[in-house]
Amino acid sequence: MQALETINTTTSIPKILFGDVSVGDELPELVKEPDNRQLVMYAGVSQDFVPIHYDLKVAHAAGHRNVIIHGALKSAWLVELVTGWMGTAGRLLEFDVSYQAIDFPGNTATCFGRVADTRIENGAGIIELEIGLRNSDGDVTTPGRALVSLPIEAHFA
């Protein structure tokens, strides 16, 4: 019998504090190698059955060389970039994304980010991030931004 799909969770969780972060810091890049199988899995869990994500004939008719990656799957990766970096004591407050160009399975997608601003608001450490996804040609197809809060004192982490 085929085993169920499972995911191995990360064993160490980063704990960063507001004071550890400076404007200009770069987040560790998150590299994804999407394939058709992942698109099918994502279609299933998100219930997005728009055929351009799995039917090559439909993708060709729309002028694409391959089926295209769901924008919302790219969003999930950009959120993973941020939440994986901020650790389990951080909070994601805002996430904006714009799907400006299409991405295809079989191409490496790299999520990147940098700290654009840090400030304290109402006693909370607020970090603003410029984030994005670039394709294997180096083009940024999917720019975005995120706002997170991080604990200021260690005992909250």
Binding site: E5, Q38, V45, I52, T83, G84, T88
Partner: protein, 164 residues
């Protein structure tokens, strides 16, 4: 940009601005969250490792932020007259207020906040801005998602084109 004579944004379509979809309530089920985390490939233990999630600042399992996307809004009280056949996702803006926890019951409502057309490479396109709200069983706003949906082209309608 011309403001007169829109071919696509008819009176009938404009009447959908401000209309709320029928509310629908979902329970965030543990295995659905696990499957979602697996499909997006996110190894964060907060989504599937109960012991680690319990000892974290969240105190228990939560769903990935974009899991909310899988809690589809219901239909509008009237049939939305989608004029085009194909669909593109233009982007999203999320605002998060509370974690969406495993076991929460989330009520989803969608409202169209703007409709406008643009002409581009694919001909006339209809841009639809919608705000989706996610409210938990305590009546607290968990998150909002503002979506930009672009439809275009004629012919046989794609699956799901009327559902976004």
């Amino acid at each position: 940009m011309k403001t007169s004579k829109s071919s696509v944004v008819t009176e009938k379509i404009r009447s959908f601005i401000g209309l709320e979809s029928n509310p629908v309530t979902y329970e965030i089920e543990r295995h659905a969250v696990e499957r979602f985390a697996c499909a997006i490939g996110d190894p964060n233990p907060l989504y599937s490792d109960e012991a680690k999630a319990r000892e974290s600042s969240y105190g228990g399992l939560i769903s990935p932020p974009t899991f909310l996307r899988s809690l589809l809004p219901s239909a509008y009280p009237r049939q939305y007259p989608e004029p085009f056949a194909h669909i593109l996702d233009g982007g999203s803006r999320y605002r998060f207020y509370e974690p969406a926890r495993v076991g929460d019951r989330i009520t989803v409502t969608r409202k169209i906040t703007d409709l406008f057309e643009k002409t581009g490479r694919m001909g006339t396109m209809l841009f639809k801005i919608s705000e989706i709200s996610y409210v938990n069983q305590l009546g607290r706003l968990v998150a909002t998602q503002t979506t930009t949906t672009i439809t275009y082209g004629t012919g046989e309608k794609d699956a799901g084109v009327g559902d976004h």
